[in-house]
């Protein structure tokens, strides 16, 4: 095989992996949009907040220590204990559930039956709020997140594929990031469990019912409020997973909230209402932008990924306005 061919394969594979990372974020959006028709812009910040909380709990940080110090002139920052990862994750999930309840109780509950754009703006307001709140609670310095995830390229694969290139060609073996592989596994597990949950549990069916038709769901006696709490909790959990994956990549810091922007083209492509869409869309975007950067990028000066992801989704949408798996838009007169 020629090295160029192998490189292309490598780019595609890495694109797929990157796509999975985008899907992890997109999933959260889809869950909430499906169940409540809310385009939750705060999803990215939720990921950041979840990751911050996880690290904070893990390393025994004192919440709001900075604020406390500023007010009482004390100088405290850590409890001085370490919380085992599993427990920390469990606690963080708990925090996200509480968060979901608060959001439902004090925001959504008051905005029922508003136009989508109003709800959208509300979530942006929420995003602002949480950016500030997260920083005050845990501080705005960079935190390294260590939950024992592997990192670095897979040596085995590199050595194994080393010989594949044709004689005399420069080739260093196939490169795949272990972290990305784990992420892919996690994503698969996540999607499968979500599907099982929504297919085979009463709550899950309730969720689907609400997704299909609020009124109908209400009429068969499903409480919208509990549903929303559940959905936001799940979205919070998904955010935590995304936060862990991305946090392990880049350290936990403010920029983590910007991964939302990476998920939007995925949503466009996959449709706001489809979980498989989020996955497939992510894969397409990932491969698309990486291939473009690999093939065309160098000619036009590189750094094309940010906009190409959107343009790709856009081109796709012009031919299929409801997205890949989005429900068909029927215009009746």
């Amino acid at each position: 095989m020629s090295a160029d061919f192998l490189y292309t394969i490598e780019v595609i594979l890495n694109g797929l992996m990157a796509g999975v990372m985008y899907s992890l974020v997109a999933l959260g959006f889809v869950l909430i949009f499906k169940a409540s028709g809310i385009f939750n812009y705060a999803q990215g910040v939720m990921a950041l907040f979840a990751a911050l909380t996880l690290v904070g709990i893990q390393t025994g940080q004192i919440p709001f220590s900075h604020l406390i110090n500023a007010i009482f002139g004390t100088n405290i920052h850590h409890f001085g204990w370490q919380v085992p990862t599993v427990l920390a994750i469990a606690l963080t999930v708990g925090v996200m559930v509480v968060f979901a309840i608060i959001v439902e109780r004090y925001i959504l509950h008051h905005l029922v039956n508003q136009e989508p754009i109003i709800l959208f703006m509300a979530t942006i307001g929420l995003a602002y709020f949480m950016e500030g709140f997260g920083d005050i609670m845990w501080g705005s310095d960079i935190k390294t997140l260590d939950v024992g995830l592997p990192s670095g390229g897979s040596r085995w694969l590199e050595d194994y594929t080393l010989g594949w290139a044709a004689e005399g060609e420069q080739y260093y073996g196939m490169y795949l990031d272990k972290l990305d592989m784990v992420a892919s596994l996690v994503a698969i597990v996540l999607v499968v469990s979500l599907t099982i949950f929504s297919q085979y549990t009463t709550t899950g069916r309730a969720l689907r019912a609400v997704a299909d038709d609020h009124q109908a769901a209400l009429s068969v006696g499903i409480s919208l409020r509990t549903i929303w709490v559940i959905v936001w909790s799940i979205a919070g959990f998904v955010a935590l997973v995304a936060g862990i994956m991305w946090g392990a990549k880049s350290g936990v810091q403010f920029s983590l909230s910007l991964i939302a922007l990476k998920a939007l083209p995925v949503l466009m492509l996959g449709g706001f209402t489809s979980i498989p869409g989020a996955i497939v869309g992510g894969l397409i975007i990932g491969v698309g932008e990486k291939l473009f950067e690999y093939a065309i990028g160098p000619m036009i000066g590189g750094a094309t990924e940010n906009w190409f992801a959107y343009v790709l989704a856009l081109m796709f949408l012009v031919f299929r306005p409801q997205g890949l798996f989005g429900e068909k838009i029927i215009e009746r007169v």
Binding site: A127, F129, F133, L261, W307, L314, V318, V333
Partner: protein, 358 residues
């Protein structure tokens, strides 16, 4: 008691269709104009001008533009930052290429250029609706920023891609560059803001405006009445971009004096302007101004109170800024989803009936 229309009859349709049918409103409108043009300049400090009034006017223009698109035509857009960037860079190129050209025509030209770009990026709106469109407009946001950052011609091949506005005058008064007096800069922006508001009002109350609103409310019905969706949507994108382009142009030339596309015209700008429109009130010209005022003044206010007044550490203050602004936005949406303009309207209704509410 004082605020009512009884006895204030209209004898011609012309009178009936004027902007402020009620005498009191008319008076107040002229009063505000008088204050803006005559009183404020007398008390204008550098700080007030550069940190409060000028940004307020510039953002108000941008909000007007976006409101035409989102509020009147119902096309959700997140490309504002990109379009402002186009306006800014167009101004820079024109200023440096034709040093003789006067600022007004430069700024109007920049607006027109942006309008053309906007119409181009409006094309997808024919197929794509709602949030899909909103996300689609992000494509223009990212692409335009990338382009302006990537092609050295746009910033005259300067090492860092920074553009800075040279000094220009109108009628012998300096309005751009460091030596411009705050009053001159303020008045210059004010003239544009008022003029554009008037323009927006005219466009939205006439045939074009009705075609926009028709598309917004029920596109199928609109089409069957004779509205060409293509024309309606593209014209909305063009006009909106014209406003936003001018805003970007003033933002760069009069307000900041220098800009760098990736820093000054990022995605945050797009969201900020959308905020103004929604907080202020969709489909309301007055609302665009109120929204801009809110989003510009609130942070300055908070900062001065928390840091200047209460002497908090700046970082805590900044974090609380986020919390408070975010919280206020949510509260506003809960209390009055149709924005501050609607609040004002409701208040008026109450005033009209006062003191006999029933």
């Amino acid at each position: 008691m004082f605020y009512r229309e009884s006895g204030d009859f209209k004898k011609t349709y012309q009178k009936d269709s004027q902007t402020f049918p009620i005498k009191f409103d008319r008076m107040r409108y002229y009063f505000v104009l008088a204050v803006a043009f005559l009183v404020i300049p007398m008390f204008l400090t550098d700080y007030m001008a550069n940190a409060v009034m000028i940004p307020f006017l510039v953002w108000a223009i941008a909000a007007l533009g976006l409101n035409i698109l989102v509020g009147y035509t119902g096309q959700l857009s997140l490309g504002t930052g990109g379009f402002m960037a186009v306006g800014a860079y167009a101004t820079y190129k024109l200023m440096t290429a034709f040093p003789g050209m006067d600022m007004v025509s430069i700024i109007l030209l920049s607006g027109l250029i942006t309008a053309a770009v906007g119409a181009l990026f409006g094309l997808p709106s024919l197929r794509i609706k709602g949030f899909y469109l909103a996300v689609a407009t992000l494509a223009s946001q990212f692409f335009l920023v990338w382009l302006l950052n990537k092609v050295p011609w746009f910033y005259n091949y300067s090492a860092s891609g920074q553009i800075s506005a040279p000094q220009r005058e109108m009628f012998g008064v300096i309005i751009t560059g460091p030596h411009a007096t705050p009053v001159a800069a303020y008045i210059f922006c004010l003239v544009f803001a008022v003029g554009l508001a008037w323009l927006a009002r005219n466009l939205t109350r006439g045939r074009l405006g009705r075609s926009w609103m028709a598309i917004r409310d029920m596109d199928i019905a609109a089409e069957i009445i004779g509205v060409n969706p293509l024309m309606a949507k593209l014209s909305a994108f063009a006009v909106s971009s014209f406003f936003i382009g001018i805003a970007g142009s003033l933002f760069f030339s009069v307000y900041l004096g220098a800009a760098e596309v990736t820093e000054a015209f990022g995605i945050t700008v797009s969201f900020a302007v959308l905020f103004m429109v929604i907080i202020g009130g969709l489909g309301s010209i007055f609302g665009s101004f109120v929204g801009a005022a809110f989003m510009v003044l609130m942070p300055v206010l908070l900062k001065n109170v928390l840091v200047g007044g209460m002497g908090w550490p700046t970082d805590l203050a900044a974090h609380f800024e986020y919390i408070i602004v975010g919280g206020l936005i949510i509260i506003f949406l809960i209390v009055e989803p149709h924005g501050l303009a609607q609040m004002a309207r409701v208040l008026k209704e109450k005033l009209r009936l006062w003191p006999f509410p029933h």
